[in-house]
């Protein structure tokens, strides 16, 4: 079969005033009609750059080498004029992006935006366009086509927007669809639906798909061929159909979305009669909705409703749920960063709501929080040493500078950082190192409970495993309890003792990890597990 797209000797360099950085190095691959090729790799490996080079959407400071060729049905796209290229884009090659919200213009309706594409590429008459848009929206399994047609982007959910985005991409009846991490921003259940939809559409229209992802399980499910990229090079290229395990590359730890390759540390089991650290009872957190000139409260957003839970010494309690289920609000409510509307949070038998501001500040040595994005959790204008010291000074831990320095060195050792990192600024560290600093900062005040709000989800997969290892090791050594918020089921299996499933601010199921994950009772838990389990190798 003749290839639909073939990329040959694609190399790209970034030229700045005094240096020249190689970004892509000799990329070669082919996509046949009705074939899906997955580009797999970590952040910064050059996946998106490859896609942008194919569409010729690179920024002006990036140059392609003269040997590079991108052939679409035998025609070299790199030699076309910009006017000719504009006809290729959208008509023959369409792209869908990671974040559907930013890809739509917020001030026009979905219908209007799809019509624009049709007018431009199909040269249809404006009359009767509505019917064509309806048909396109039906193609992507949108039931209420009329509502979506009239809706503005913000009125649709993330999954719905991504469907509309796909409908828009298909409006020009492209031969090649480039999907740049189309499901990363979506929750697991919607993610699975979108993947199925793409497969069906491919069979229907006979498109070639270039699928960019960092999730191996998604790639394995979608692709006929997988290309693994690292640092601008293809390091492995194989057909998925061979079903042979990926040969591990020395610099590339196995990319596994499904399970974690860890250092073999086992989670310590805990005794049933262990001391209770935290108990939360009937916690409600509502945000008032205010309207009108007098700011009258007309209703409440019930972010967290009637949550009760306990965490015992040295235990890990996982809270799972999709985005928007109130997990993060719950974490901040427990940390007294948001004032709960109702209910009690007891830490070591003391009700936090009854403490004065001063007593509460003192109490904060017992419980700490770790945020999802370590970069935004550190003041960009402080050096690492100042960041680590801050809590110790505030809570008067360590009598003098020497004692504090000793403690900092011990902490660096515990979380696997070097003394030379102390003089750096947060942006000078890698993602994994940043999260280690955040962990060290929390540990500096000697807490017995750590609330972790998706601490690994902003990190690359290979780094995630290291950080999880660190968490487990620290729990063993220091007997810390974790309240671990995540949407990653595999992570729950790896490190939690008990688990709570949340949906729309309410708790739908709780129990030990074995109970909940192996014999789920609630339909939502089942759906979550099925979605998360899809495509696991």
């Amino acid at each position: 079969m003749q290839a639909l797209l073939s990329v040959r000797n694609l190399s790209a360099r970034l030229k700045s005033e005094d240096q020249c950085v190689s970004l892509l190095n000799n990329i070669n691959f082919e996509i046949c009609p009705e074939q899906t090729v997955a580009l797999l790799g970590e952040t910064g490996s050059g996946k998106s750059l490859t896609a942008l080079s194919i569409c010729r959407l690179l920024s002006q400071s990036i140059f392609l080498s003269p040997e590079s060729e991108v052939l679409l049905q035998g025609k070299n796209l790199l030699t076309l004029s910009e006017i000719e290229m504009r006809r290729v884009r959208g008509k023959q090659i369409a792209m869908i992006f990671q974040e559907p919200t930013t890809s739509f213009n917020p001030v026009f309706t979905i219908g209007h935006q799809i019509e624009e594409v049709l007018l431009h590429h199909q040269r249809l008459a404006r009359k009767g366009l509505e019917k064509v848009v309806y048909r396109l929206l039906e193609n992507v399994h949108i039931a209420e086509v009329e509502r979506v047609y009239k809706a503005y982007p913000h009125q649709l959910s993330g999954g719905m927007k991504q469907r509309a985005m796909i409908a828009m991409a298909l409006a020009g009846e492209p031969k090649l669809l480039i999907a740049d991490e189309p499901t990363t921003a979506l929750d697991v259940i919607t993610q699975a639906q979108i993947l199925v939809l793409l497969k069906q559409l491919q069979a229907k229209f006979g498109m070639g798909i270039l699928f960019i992802t960092h999730d191996l399980s998604v790639a394995a499910e979608m692709a006929d061929q997988i290309i693994v990229m690292q640092a601008g090079r293809i390091i492995e290229q194989r057909g998925e159909l061979q079903k042979s395990p990926l040969t591990p590359h020395p610099p590339q730890p196995p990319l596994k979305g499904g399970s974690f390759q860890r250092g073999g540390l086992e989670v310590k089991s805990i005794l049933n009669d262990a001391e209770t650290l935290l108990s939360v009872e009937h916690l409600d957190i509502y945000f008032p909705i205010k309207r009108g000139i007098f700011n009258k409260t007309v209703g409440y957003v019930r972010a967290v409703e009637k949550i009760s839970l306990t965490v015992r010494k040295g235990e890990t309690l996982a809270i799972v749920g999709e985005s928007g289920s109130g997990k993060t609000t719950l974490a901040r409510g427990i940390m007294s960063l948001i004032k709960p509307t109702q209910g009690e949070v007891d830490l070591l038998g003391e009700n936090l709501a009854h403490l004065s501001q001063k007593q509460l500040r003192k109490k904060r040595a017992e419980f700490q929080i770790i945020f999802q994005d370590p970069l935004s959790a550190m003041d960009p204008r402080c050096r690492i040493k100042a960041i680590l010291e801050e809590g110790m000074i505030a809570l008067k831990i360590g009598a003098d500078q020497n004692e504090r320095d000793e403690r900092i060195n011990a902490l660096l050792d515990a979380v696997g950082l070097l003394p030379e990192h102390l003089t750096r600024y947060p942006h000078q560290l890698s993602g994994g190192q940043r999260q280690r600093v955040c962990i060290a900062r929390a540990l500096a005040v000697g807490p017995r409970l750590l609330v972790c709000d998706e601490p690994t989800s902003s990190l690359d997969v290979s780094v995630q495993a290291q950080i999880i290892d660190l968490f487990i090791r620290l729990q063993k050594e220091l007997e810390i309890a974790y309240l671990f918020i995540t949407h990653n089921i595999a992570l729950v299996r790896t490190m939690a003792h008990r688990v709570i499933v949340m949906k729309d601010g309410k708790m739908v199921e709780q129990g030990t990890v074995e109970q909940v994950l192996n014999a789920p009772q609630h339909p939502y838990t089942k759906a979550l597990l099925i979605a998360a389990g899809r495509g696991q190798i």
């Binding site: 960063l337 904060r364 550190m378 809590g391 600024y425 005040v445």
Partner: protein, 357 residues
């Protein structure tokens, strides 16, 4: 010879000392290197800085005042000495730039006893001509630099604490603190600024009439008190944003007290806005002085200022032949200062904005 320190002189000295100390501590930081890098990258930033420095030096020289034994009543500055004799001699009346003779004819008695209308020969060379009472326009424009700089910098100093403290408190503490501060600045900014300043100046008129220096100082204070609202509003918004940032949340979780969080985490992250706004406000204030003096509520009518020069030029412009040089002299010096300050603030903006780097 006896040195005299006026009130505004003292403030100028304090400012200079403050600037030197600040540079001493600031030169080790990353921002300093970024500013230097920006200056190196674009030579016109460097030119702007040089012009600002020249203006600054002139302002400082003009702030060192003394009395000489020969004349008990004349207070002169170092700048006057340097520009001597232009500071104490004057022609009879108008003369055009580079002219050798006066622009106005005079009736004089000639040698043979007759009266004749002649254009008298000028005593000195005048680069920018002379005004109605024969003062050198270039000298006037140079002397006005000090007034412009004092208004620009002292007003900023008066305004800054209000804007910083109120903005950060409102944004950080929210609730009733925010309500009160918002109420104050909404009220202030809903009264037309010039009216407010004119009202304040006129009500203080009896007290400040005697001393031009005190009048200048009071003007700065009034301008400062009425102009902090814009910056305050900006800082409040930015603080609201920073307050919900994870690094502030984690500082709260670490038990750091609110005042310390404001000092360590909020303020350093606001500094880029403050510096940029201050540099832009400086130019606006120099212009405001000209407008206020023109309206008649600005600096003392006898003081050297661009506003007074423009005000006097109103009549000159109505003459025939047209006297254009006093207006253009004032405008040119003001324009160069405001233009360089704006260009330099552009460099600061580039250096302090994290997205630019």
């Amino acid at each position: 010879m006896k040195m005299i320190v006026l009130w505004t002189d003292a403030l100028v000295y304090l400012l200079v000392i403050g600037l030197v100390v600040w540079i001493y501590f600031f030169r080790k930081t990353q921002e300093w290197r970024l500013i230097l890098a920006q200056l190196k990258k674009r030579p016109y930033y460097l030119v702007a800085l040089l012009i600002l420095m020249v203006y600054g030096i002139i302002g400082i020289l003009d702030s060192i005042h003394f009395k000489t034994a020969s004349n008990e009543f004349a207070v002169r500055s170092v700048l006057d000495l340097l520009l001597s004799p232009y500071d104490h001699v004057s022609e009879v009346t108008y003369s055009a730039p580079f002219a050798t003779h006066s622009a106005e004819p005079q009736v004089l008695k000639t040698e043979d006893g007759h009266f004749a209308e002649v254009y008298p020969k000028l005593k000195y060379f005048h680069f920018l001509g002379t005004d109605k009472i024969g003062r050198d326009v270039f000298y006037l424009a140079i002397k006005s630099i000090r007034t412009g700089l004092v208004i620009g910098t002292v007003t900023t100093l008066v305004m800054l604490p209000f804007a910083l403290l109120f903005g950060m408190w409102a944004g950080y503490f929210r609730g009733w603190v925010d309500d009160i501060i918002q109420y104050i600045y909404t009220t202030l900014s809903s009264v037309p600024g010039i009216l407010l300043i004119a009202g304040a100046m006129l009500s203080l008129q009896p007290k400040i009439e005697a001393d031009p220096d005190i009048r200048l100082l009071i003007l700065c204070v009034i301008l400062g008190v009425t102009s902090w609202t814009t910056l305050c509003r900006l800082l409040r918004g930015e603080t609201l944003k920073l307050r919900s940032a994870d690094f502030v949340q984690s500082a709260i979780a670490l038990g750091v007290t609110p005042l310390k969080i404001i000092r360590r985490h909020i303020m350093p992250n606001l500094m880029h806005i403050v510096i940029i706004t201050v540099a832009l406000d400086f130019s606006a204030l120099v212009l405001a002085e000209a407008i206020l003096s023109y309206v008649g509520v600005g600096v003392d009518p006898t003081a050297f200022s661009w506003g007074n020069m423009i005000n006097a030029a109103r009549l000159d412009m109505a003459r025939e032949p047209l006297v254009w040089w006093s207006l253009s002299g004032a405008l040119f010096f003001m324009f160069i200062l405001v233009f360089s300050a704006n260009i330099f603030s552009d460099a600061l903006q580039k250096a302090f904005n994290p997205k630019e780097n």
